[in-house]
Amino acid sequence: MITLQDFNKETGNAYILFGHEAIQARPNLDPYTSTLRMNDETMQVYTSDVHLKHHARRGIKAYALENELTHPDSAIFYEKEDEMGKARDFATRIKLIRESQEITKKDENKKDALHHCLDLPLFGYVHAVKNENFSVTNAINTLFRPVTFHSCEILSLGRNNAFPSLDKDGEIKESAGSATVDSLEYGFFLSLWEINLNMLKVNAHEHKIMSWDETKTKGWIEMFVNGLWKAYTTDRFPSFTQRSQFAQFVIGWQPGSDVSYENPADLFSQLNNKQINNHADAVEALNTVLPHFLAGWDYNSDTSFLKHLDKNCPLNCLS
């Protein structure tokens, strides 16, 4: 488990930099084109903030269940499908949360989901129900889109499904059963998260599961970081295209002075060899470019409250 140093500030912004790698994977395809999202000029692959938050939610649930924090049905609000893959509507989701928390009809409150689920105080939501509507601004979000800091090699790989399907006349489709897809050979992603500490308190101060008085800022950030880490280590998504993604490092800090606002994507311009194809080269490059980047963001031993590295990730620049 990742533990934060003592950190209970309630104003200003704090930052988390999370590094993870994807090996022979297809992270966060564009749902309309089914291709990797990338910058066509630099060949940097990126994902949406929504994608990482989806995985963070899975990890937060795993963390909550491991630590027996809450009931599995109400750990995470945004579970839009049941175990059978059937879509749930908003009202059904809220009903399930109330049942799992044994909230009786007379005790129902329009903020039951916000006060019981662990993801909503972090990522916000809109309670769009007539006569009950309210909004919760996210306290934590990626500042820039998560992206590889280097060019990536993309391969076109053939796929062969077991059986082709039939057309409406009962004839076997000529092209069915096989396809060519793009595959990311290797990518080291950096995602920079901004946490508005005041917003976190505003969203979480009445929480029934994670009492603010007991957990405060530290407890909530710890849960988020552990969730993110678990989603890319012990609780990786099992699909063929997602499971080969691994957490590498996570650091957290609250700047004490002005910062550069440098986008991790722009580290690309500082690389001598733009294309990186393996873990060792990625670590070597990060050891070169991260110190200047982090200095610009005022990350140092005085401002840092979190540092956790995978054993496989010898980033000397963070030690």
Binding site: T11, G12, D30, P31, Y32, S48, D49, V50, H54, K80, K86, A87, R88, D89, F90, L114, G124, N131, N133, F134, S135, V136, T137, N138, A139, N141, T142, L143, E194, N196, N198, M199, V202, N203, Y261
Partner: protein, 230 residues
Amino acid sequence: MWRNPYESMGSFSCLGPAPSNIAGLIGAALGFASPKSQGAESHDEKALKKLDKKGLPWSVSPELLQWQSDNDYHVACRWMGDHPKRRPWNVNGCKDLDPVNDNLRMQQQIIEQPRYEVALKLSDEEADRIAKALREPKFPLSLGASFCRAIITNISIENEEPQRDNWAYWETVFAVGDATPLSRHIINAEDAGERIKSDGFWVYPTKYQPGELGHETFVKGYCFAEEPEK
């Protein structure tokens, strides 16, 4: 992601913010919460229901409306980026959940690498207060949508009006170029039953589509509505 109030799905971003968007940023920095947001310190349910009935389910912060009126909010904005580009961006934007078919997903087109310069006309004292708030915002600052976080740099207080050079300009009838509906908060929203009014367009000149000379730099960023006919 600057949503266009004339577009029902809200999926195609305008090039730049409207005065109401910039007012929202200032309100977030100062900690003026919408009455229907978790950030509001107290929720007067009776008053909120009254607003619902008046057609204002998502009303603007009363403190922000007061601030605009008290400070005679005047604003200017210009595009500082390169050739404007929009990028397809898929958000898990479930406007609704359809248990039979599937979730409705929206493909949004966001502005790539947006950069703006914004000027506000304020008294010295208020300029100091706003500059401080923008450096240490109370709530997260966003560029029109919470997934597009804003970064505000190079805050300065000047005594001279900025030169009339490529600032967004107001066209009241129709616009050529990348135009944002000139939307402003209605100060007496409760009388009008509307929180925002769009009057013509705020045209953003770009490097490849320069603007017309001679326009006023600042526009009045708020408005009043007449009471609807009974």
